[in-house]
């Protein structure tokens, strides 16, 4: 009988291993600047944000002939810091990159990770997604000003829900907002949910006073009129969403959730330049433009040194907020 089992196992394995390579074009144009092979570490589960970014970028690079062969693999754990530890440990490896984002910056502190993102070699910031401040259509708040007034008067009962654990983007955004309007972050009653989807239910059902999350799962509900967006956290308004930015609404905070790529420390200057270059060229491909549109991402390309400075500043900003909360 065990033969059948093995046939089943073998079929499944063959399907999983063979179908993807068969369906992707085996491009073989011998361009010299092409990067031959690259391993992409994703520090969260398949299907998560860093995962989708990594796989989309890898596919676009292969389709655009920038890269011969990219192997994306997942090493999830502790908000991405397990993967970060691996990346930092692979000192000098110019064939490995890690997909990451703002969430990892906070996770380094909440998980008390021994490694910091400042230990890595920043390659590029790729995309950003603004958060939205959102309430259900039955909410008494029709403008951000009303919400802020109520919030300042009663931070305990004006609850705020977010789709990430403490230290994550949806947690940082309301904390920064609180600081912006003169509330102590400690007094904010933040309720973490398991992702934007679970938060959506609580916002729709009016369980939390307001929610702060990425726009991803919310577009349809916003168009259907069941949700009201009070503000977007980015510097610019979002097309198709009728809401002011935080600054326009009188709260001096600018916040986006971004994702990017880092490499292990100690790689050679040539390797680093090559990697930065390949992402710079990715940004100009039609495949990437199309992928951005399909996923609703905003292009936020910042190469090497620029990204490094940005990362240092974000790290400082996150650390300040988390120190106020006793988490760092």
């Amino acid at each position: 009988m065990s033969v059948k089992v093995w046939v089943a196992v073998a079929t499944a394995l063959l399907a999983v291993l063979l179908v993807p390579p068969l369906l992707t074009p085996g491009a073989d144009s011998g361009e010299t600047s092409q990067v031959r092979s690259l391993r992409v570490l994703v520090p969260n589960q398949p299907g998560g944000g860093y995962d989708i970014t990594a796989r989309t970028a890898a596919k676009a690079m292969e389709d655009a002939d920038l890269l011969r062969n990219a192997e994306v693999f997942n090493l999830p754990g502790a908000g991405g810091t397990v993967g970060l530890g691996r990346t930092v440990g692979e000192r000098g490896n110019g064939k490995l990159i890690m997909s990451m984002g703002l969430g990892v910056v906070g996770a380094v502190y909440t998980n008390k990770s021994p490694n910091s993102l400042l230990d890595t070699t920043p390659i590029a910031r790729l995309i950003e997604e603004p958060d939205i401040v959102v309430v259900s259509k039955d909410s008494p708040y029709t403008s951000l000003q009303q919400l802020v007034d109520a919030w300042k008067a009663n931070p305990g009962t004006v609850t705020v829900g977010g789709g990430s654990a403490p230290g994550g983007p949806d947690h940082l955004a309301p904390m920064l907002m609180a600081k912006g309007v003169g509330l102590a972050p400690k007094s904010v009653n933040y309720i973490p949910f398991d992702g934007g989807g679970e938060l959506l239910a609580s916002v729709l059902g009016g369980k939390v006073a307001f929610g702060v999350s990425g726009i991803g799962e919310y577009r349809d509900q916003i168009q259907a009129g069941t949700l009201r967006v009070l503000a977007v956290t980015s510097a610019k308004r979002i097309s198709g969403i009728d809401a002011p930015t935080l600054k326009e609404a009188g709260v001096d905070v600018e916040f986006t959730n971004w994702r990017g790529i880092v490499a292990p420390p100690g790689i050679t200057q040539t390797d680093r330049d090559k990697l930065v270059d390949v992402f710079a060229r990715l940004q100009k491909t039609p495949q990437w433009t199309e992928a951005l549109q399909r996923n609703g991402w905003t292009d936020a390309f910042a190469p090497g040194d620029q990204f490094k400075t940005f990362l240092e500043n974000e790290n400082k900003r996150v650390a300040t907020v988390l120190k106020d909360l006793g988490l760092a």
């Binding site: 589960q45 398949p46 995962d51 810091t81 998980n111 230290g167 989807g197 679970e198 239910a201 059902g205």
Partner: protein
Amino acid sequence: MEQLLDGFATALTPTHLLLAAIGVLLGTAIGVLPGIGPAMAVALLLPVTYGMEPTGAFIMFAGIYYGGMFGGSTTSILLNTPGESAAVVAAFEGNPMARKGRGAQALAAAAIGHFTGGIIGTLLIVLLAPFVAKHAVDIGAPDLFAIMVLAFIAVTSVLGSSRIRGVASLLIGLTLGLVGLDEMTGQQRLTFGSLHLADGIDIVVVAVALFAVGEALWVAAHLRRKPFEPIPVGRPWLSRADLKRTWKPWLRGPAIGFPFGAIPAGGAEIPTFLSYVTEKRLSKHKDEFGKGAIEGVAGPESTASASAAGTLVTMLTLGLPTTATAAVMLAAFQQYGIQPGPLLFQRESGLVWALIASLFIGLTLLLVLNLPLAPLWAKLLRIPRPYLYAGILFFASVGAYAVNADIFDLLLMFVIGLLGFGMRRYGLPVLPAIIGVILGPAAEQQMRRSLQLSDGSLTGLVNSPMAVIVYIVVLVIVFFPLIRKFLPKPTPPAAPTPEREKVDA
């Protein structure tokens, strides 16, 4: 109705039929392989389907989702090695059945259970989608916490013959459940500074370790003293008596599974457990529970598939994922520029109805695939015991490793496996420990969330009608023995349940 027929027309085209078949085959295979759940399978296939048109892709994904449910219970029943969390409960009764030579019946009961649960659940999608969309979001943390309290009361029925050992085991489970970052505040608990423990211990790792590894060590320790006999394989089909015992659990399953699947944070673990307890209470063969009662397989499995259907309702109508697989499927929708939500049924009605029709087709395919396989799978147990348990250990290790592709999980599995061995040695039942790991973190999260929502006021726990109703049910159950004393002579008193459960259930 006409739309549904149109949907069938779309789903029955050769291409879509083929995709549905590929989906259910892959799903079953993935379910059988420990550690790789449907969520990961869909996520890994996502890039492959970029080039496909959305209807076909979703027909395949739905096949994988349901197929994973079918396949997951197979290893759970035969090898005591649950491949994913929804299948943990199937091992409670399924594995004792398999060891008694009734593996084929257990598998058949599970397969038909999944089919019935899935079909009824899918029918409920058709009938109740707008209703669910309206009311699912009304259920909040206080209601969920009340249900957790109910589930904790129900734990008493799996404590086994010695209450104190049962409670000790439950506490072991609750402690394992505490490990990791506290989700509310981000503080570390019992992580001993290890990043690998920061996310907590995966329920699949705990279940595989306590069930399979503990069992294998226990058998190995006794192998020399026990006669060397392979496990018998009985007749392959469900007897009339079996059918008589299983049809009600099959039909009851959806009543528990569907609503749970549809509410946020519902999932499949808690409803399958509740179904198990319900079947135990209602069964005429209570003494068989723990030793292979077929109701204990039929009910939970039907519940598991119905909860998968419930999950799809919330995902399609609200754009709200209640399980990991639904979350990945949602991401897949967004890849195609389709946003599930209140407008989906109007905007993409062709796709939605074809998807629903394909669910019916996929379930039928799965039943046709799995029923004849049941006796074949069951013959696996004919392998002599040393080789069988070596195989089980191998599969358990692969499974524990595959969950996160992390060697640490493998070590963790063997450490918890040793714990399982120790628990068997000292007569501690392992079931309560598993339940503790499932219920503990969920209950804590919902209670703290309720209290946070009410800014610390205790009234936050009882401020919704549903929570109050559930608490009343809890009180009735707790005080029922007392109330019964004061009732005028009850109808002929039921014979007291003989508490003779085997400790290693």
